[in-house]
């Protein structure tokens, strides 16, 4: 056995807990059912299983990396601690009043998300700061003290403290915490000024409250898991995956568990970023399509796009504004309620609709034959001939095309007057692909990015099925389908740097930039982040990235502009102005004359250096792959049946080439190669698709076939 260090990733999802173990070039994977009431049980079971398969002992592990949906699920299912909020007098209802708007203009029966803290647990105390942090009204210490019996009486288990403008001057929040701690030291307290030190009281309080809500649960779980891993002999450090794509220690995770909320999907994006780096693709769109949703992420320069906030627990068809806002660093992903199990229908205008309702695993799509009668996306793909009904999921699940046809005929065909259920299926699949492509388009616009030269990396069960068509709609000519797509998130955990990001608001105008204050702030932020990173990776080389969030004075949306390294002075400020104008023009065609520029906040991220990309393995000698069989598939352009060649992925080695239309089948998914596409297997085992004869134009395919 090689002496390379063994590293284990554990990803707890809603249904399954995935494990990936790597040592040197070898990789093992395992899946166990998640045990929600005591998640560490499933984890320990899986750890034992995967170690046994690999022939390793617990003591052989050098690192354990963990990501989990437990925090998200606790919020969605409302299973967190009984939490109270202490806030500024006169502002008891910031969480309930939100931004006073409705996320759907035309739904008269609209429901809004309930705050995590009900009104009877929202307490106020006299105090008030102004926008510059000056005290307008001092904190009433007695009023804080007087709350303690009420909090105890109400059975409160965790407290968030959030005061207006508290992020500018946290002394009132800190004083209130000290008063609580003096007589109730074991009470967990989250300060808004520490959890999310940024302007906008609703988002900040909402984040602090979410942190308080999941903190007791997550801290108990993480400490238990660490202890039990140690007990079975795992001596390796345990690190946690953060929603922003970095790793952190158990201690930091226990303080700020809200930063764990999107860790699973973050792993998927890092997985895609790693593939991008390995294959030297600087501009990527990752597309992860599972059973109920699809997730899209832009990855430039091998780094997934990040943002400073998102919404958890959306209640209105994944619509913006229907969830609880969290202000944390997070990998920016668009989530669309359209996966393989999503149900198709027809609206009042005779338009085909997809999702967000899902058939789930039970009853599942109609073709599963488990009682589902409504057509799902999987039914439509089956009717188009894209799946072999005898070989789906490695042949473990026999699909019934007759049931799929009936469901599509009744729900989609009949209302549209389409007699052939396969054409109804074509409409459903086309609408799914269009929905994904439109979501990607609008997202790219919001990010000031385009698709020219971009590579699509598709994974998840449905990603490789839909990838080529979405690429065509976006004008993308190259698609990569990596191996191991089923456990992509867990593999991603193993590729993540140890990293921590700190964001702070400090208002500045470029015309009167206080370089001394900004330099001091940036240094303090860097020290804080460095401390967290050093705890997880003692002595490792790190690098620092700094961003300023800027806009023209009077605008409402900031653009992130990177700061140069080192102390900022007059020259750097001038450089910032130029950089902002350039960035703004890139987004919106022309700069705005005569406007000063303001900076609202700064971000500092410290990360261990990513592994060097290495050289791409020499292109393996090309060889012409032979189809295992043929399959009759509907062509998306004219709806006719066409014979597609089918290849088994397991039978394709590096260098294998084939031309579309074709299908590369494997147990977890199928990769479709459209009529205008070619495919080859790279040295890494990744499938590469190219459109419009690029491989042929490159000459090597023809040479490979006809030397």
């Amino acid at each position: 056995m090689s002496s390379a260090p063994a590293r284990l990733a554990i990803d707890i999802g809603g249904t399954f807990t995935d494990f990936t173990l790597e040592r040197g070039e070898k990789r093992w994977t395992a899946k166990v059912l998640t045990t929600p009431e005591a998640p560490e049980r499933g984890v320990l079971e899986g750890v034992a299983a995967i170690l046994a398969t690999a022939g390793l002992a617990p003591g052989d592990l050098a690192l354990v990396i963990h990501g989990t949906t437990l925090a998200t699920n606790a919020i969605i299912e409302r299973k967190g601690a009984r939490t109270a909020l202490i806030t500024t007098a006169g502002f008891r209802d910031v969480l309930a009043l939100r931004n006073e708007s409705r996320y759907d203009q035309y739904d008269l029966n609209l429901m809004l998300p309930e705050p995590l803290v009900p009104r009877d647990l929202r307490f106020t105390v006299p105090e008030r700061l102004d926008n510059e942090g000056h005290v307008l009204r001092p904190l009433d210490h007695d009023a804080v003290r007087a709350l303690i019996p009420a909090l105890r009486g109400a059975g409160v288990e965790s407290v968030a403290i959030g005061f207006l403008h508290g992020f500018v001057n946290p002394t009132h929040e800190e004083a209130a915490r000290a008063i609580l701690a003096a007589s109730w030291p074991e009470l967990p307290v989250s300060l808004a000024a520490e959890v999310a030190p940024e302007m906008r009281e609703w988002e900040r309080f909402s984040t602090a409250v979410a942190n308080a809500y999941i903190q007791p649960l997550m801290a108990r779980y993480l400490r238990r898991l660490a202890a039990e891993l140690a007990e079975i002999g795992v001596a390796a450090p345990l690190l946690l995956m953060l929603s922003g794509g970095g790793l952190t220690t158990v201690e930091t995770a226990c303080r700020f568990p809200v930063r764990l909320v999107e860790s699973g999907p973050a792993g998927g994006a890092i997985f895609a970023a790693h593939i991008a780096r390995a294959e030297h693709c600087p501009a990527v769109l990752s597309f992860d399509m599972g059973g109920t949703t699809a997730k899209i992420c832009l990855i430039d320069g091998f780094v997934p796009q990040t943002t400073r906030g998102f919404e958890v627990a959306r209640i209105g068809r994944f619509r913006k504004g229907s969830g609880l806002p969290l202000r944390i660093p997070v990998i920016e992903m668009v989530e669309i309620g359209a996966g393989g199990g999503s149900l198709a229908g027809v609206d009042a205008l005779g338009r085909i609709t997809i999702g967000p309702e899902s058939a789930g695993a039970d009853p599942g799509p109609a073709c599963y034959g488990r009682g589902g009668v409504l057509p799902a996306v999987t039914d439509a793909n089956l009717l188009l001939g894209r799946y072999d009904p005898e070989r789906f999921a490695g042949g473990r699940l026999k699909l019934d095309p007759a049931r799929a046809a009936r469901a599509l005929a009744e729900t989609v065909g009949a209302p549209l007057g389409i007699d052939d259920p396969a054409l109804a299926a074509l409409g459903v699949v086309e609408m799914v692909d269009e929905t994904m492509a439109n979501a990607a388009l609008v997202h790219a616009v919001e990010s000031g990015k385009g698709f020219a030269g971009r590579v699509l990396i598709a994974f998840g069960g449905g990603g490789p099925v839909h990838a080529y068509r979405i690429a065509e709609k976006l004008g993308i000519d190259r698609v990569l389908i990596p191996p191991g797509a089923g456990v992509g998130s867990a593999i991603g955990f193993l590729r993540a740097p140890i990293a921590y990001e700190v964001v702070r608001s400090l208002y500045q105008r470029l015309a009167r930039f206080d370089a001394v204050a900004v330099n001091a702030l940036l240094a303090a932020m860097a020290a804080e982040a460095r401390g967290v990173v050093a705890a997880g990776a003692p002595g490792a080389a790190t690098h620092e990235e700094r961003l300023a969030f800027m806009r023209y004075v009077g605008q409402g949306h900031e653009i992130a502009v990177p700061l140069p390294p080192g102390e900022l002075g007059a020259a750097e400020v001038t450089g910032l102005r130029v950089a902002f104008d350039a960035e703004y023009t890139r987004f919106y065609t022309r700069p705005v004359p005569g406007s000063d520029i303001e900076v609202l906040s700064f971000a500092v991220r410290i990360a261990t250096s990513a592994p060097s990309p290495g050289t791409v393995a020499a292109a393996p000698a090309p060889w012409h792959a032979r189809a295992a069989r043929g399959q009759s598939v509907r062509d998306m352009a004219h709806g006719e049946k066409v014979e597609w060649s089918v290849f088994a992925r397991a039978a394709l080695g590096p260098g294998a080439r084939l031309e579309g239309p074709a299908i590369i089948a494997e147990d977890e998914t199928s990769t479709l190669i459209g009529p205008d596409w070619q495919a080859r297997l790279l040295a890494s085992g990744t499938i590469e698709l190219r459109r419009g004869g690029e491989l042929r134009r490159g000459g090597d395919l023809r040479r490979g076939e006809n030397p």
Binding site: E100, R128, R351, G475, Q555, V592, G594
Partner: protein
């Protein structure tokens, strides 16, 4: 290509067109300067055929723009016929009668070319923060006092800014940089739409939008007619009252549901006001259409064909058909009551699909301070720095047949409010209180949404002014089906002195402005509300124990739990 495939392809293109206008709207939100656009979302964006019929509109926060913007494009085409348009041209107006009803709304129209041919028009509308004149408020006696009046002109000519236009624009506003920036934002927004449309033409190898337009209009017309056909035919009458400026205003409607169309006659509505609460007819049509659509056909996108079956007859001389040059600056206080009026009619036809009346009119306090209020100094002490700021706030919405109303939430307007922290960073104001208003939701089987209480001062409690534009102070939102009224609004000083609901007023030094926003009306008999829901309201402090007993007939024990026996007795069920 088979007809089924052709149909699917058209559906795909329709979806794409909706994505195009959403992108257009997003671009404006991200580039706009006025808080009204970027924070509140008071804007709209759409694409039009060359003869001015709206194909698709982004779903944004403003029913008032629903078909007023749609009508506007026709006015542009009359002045600048399509054949005269060139690439890089942008046309602008804020004429209340050619646009969306007041001078604060700028409308920009941009031709989209593909392969050298004009293929579509993009239009957008945004509410800017300042357009000079008296400022946003009811005090004007004619439109000329209300601000800079921009006829339909070119703001960009073949890509070049019209510097003469921009000179006039900058000179006419208190916030010239922001206003100019907003015009740039509006043009960037239409350009984004035109760019994406070009890509769509390439991908689908289109020469024109004719076939797609035909498909959109046919599908929409058929679907709207089908929804209308589900309603019981007949004529339904309702009325509603606004506080008006200095005398109450009656809005009356007779809605006739016919075969495939709905017409509304506003006969019986009060006459014109001498102040800026008059409503231009396009704005009346917009809010009335929204009130009907939200009940009858909420899923059908707005376009020329889905709006066409909704016809309005608005008598001349009524406050809903204001002619030029009547003052119209705050036409929303009247206009936003129209959905309640439409629902008053529809309640008689489909009671289970209609909400009770809500606070409805936005309670946006336009605040001003500094030199314009206090001169350079008052009492030899420095005045506040000049400021002009507005926040968008709302009371409660009406209860729904199966759900409570929403607390402190905008309806029918869909705008968002700004964070207090952001407002305090742009003006020297201090919000001392902004929280829910207990006992303000109308009692009912379903409770009306709660209003809120706001207390606003300045730093150092110096004097400032509020140009009040509030309603529902004299006429509280009514319940339906036996539900009670929501609490009426209150406008006062911190010492309790009542202020007028409309008009420019000074908040003297040492005082603060106290606004109590109305609650929504209740739906159904309060004595049939689930006792547990009443207990929770009492525990949350939004309904008093006294109200619980008197209106809801629920008896709570000392711990706040429902006393089932006593409650049954109170309800006469024992």
């Amino acid at each position: 290509m088979s007809t089924a495939l052709a149909r699917i392809r058209l559906q795909v293109m329709w979806n794409r067109l909706i994505a195009v206008v959403e992108e257009q709207a997003q671009t404006m939100i991200r580039t706009a300067f006025s808080t009204t656009v970027r924070e509140a979302g008071d804007l709209s964006a759409g694409i039009f055929t060359l003869d001015g019929r709206m194909l698709a509109q982004a779903v944004t926060g403003t029913p008032g723009h629903v078909n007023s913007m749609s009508e506007s494009v026709g006015h542009f085409l009359r002045k600048f016929p399509a054949p005269t348009m060139r690439p890089g041209d942008h046309y602008i107006t804020n004429d209340p009668w050619l646009g969306t009803g007041h001078l604060h709304d700028l409308t920009v129209v941009t031709p989209a070319f593909h392969g050298g041919r004009l293929v579509a028009l993009f239009a957008n509308t945004a509410h800017v923060i300042d357009i000079g004149g008296l400022g946003m408020g009811p005090e004007g006696r004619s439109v000329f006092e209300e601000g800079l009046y921009i006829p339909i002109v070119k703001c960009f000519d073949a890509g070049q800014p019209n510097e003469t236009f921009f000179d006039f624009l900058r000179a006419g506003s208190r916030l010239p940089v922001e206003l100019e920036g907003d015009v740039y934002s509006l043009t960037a927004c239409n350009e984004a739409g035109a760019r994406r449309l070009g890509a769509m033409f390439d991908e689908f190898r289109l020469g024109t939008l004719d076939e797609l337009a035909d498909f959109i209009f046919t599908s929409s017309r058929r679907a709207t007619a089908a929804e209308i056909a589900r309603l019981p035919r007949g004529t339904y009458r309702a009325e509603i009252f606004s506080d008006g400026y200095d005398e109450e205003v009656r809005l009356a409607a007779a809605m006739t549901i016919g075969e495939g169309d709905i017409s509304v006659d506003f006969a019986g509505t009060s006459g014109l006001s001498p102040r800026g609460i008059n409503v231009p007819p396009a704005y009346c049509r917009a809010y009335a259409a929204f009130g009907i659509k939200v009940v009858v056909a909420p899923e059908i996108p707005n376009n020329w064909a889905s709006l066409a079956p909704l016809r309005m007859v608005i008598p001349e001389g009524s406050i809903l058909n204001a002619p030029r040059p009547y003052a119209v600056s705050v036409r929303h206080v009247i206009g936003q009551l129209l959905p309640d009026l439409m629902m008053g009619c529809l309640f008689q036809a489909v009671p289970e699909r209609v909400a009770a009346e809500g606070s409805s009119c936005l309670w946006n306090p336009p605040l001003r301070g500094g030199g314009a209020i206090s001169g350079g100094a008052r009492g030899n002490r420095p005045a506040l720095p000049d400021f002009e700021v507005i926040t968008f706030n709302s009371g409660g919405t009406g209860a729904r047949p199966a759900r409570d109303g929403l607390d402190g939430t905008a309806f029918p307007s869909g705008v968002r409010t700004m964070p207090v922290e952001a407002t305090e960073n742009v003006a020297p104001v201090v919000f001392w209180r902004k929280e829910l208003r207990p006992d303000s939701g109308g009692a009912g089987r379903m409770r009306g949404g709660l209003g809120q209480v706001m207390e606003i001062g300045t730093k150092g409690d110096q004097e400032f002014a509020c140009n009040a534009v509030f309603d529902r102070v004299a006429h509280a939102p009514r319940g339906r089906a036996g539900g009670g009224a929501g609490a009426a609004g209150v406008v006062a000083l911190s010492d309790g002195t009542l202020l007028r609901a409309k008009g420019f007023q000074i908040i003297p030094e040492g005082q603060r402005l106290v606004l109590k926003l109305p609650g929504g009306g209740g739906f159904g008999d309060p004595a049939r509300r689930a006792p547990e829901a009443v207990a929770r309201d009492v525990r949350d402090g939004v309904v008093s124990a006294a109200m619980a007993r008197a209106l809801y007939r629920v008896h709570l024990d000392a711990a706040g739990a429902v006393d089932a026996e006593a409650t049954a007795r109170l309800r006469g069920e024992a």
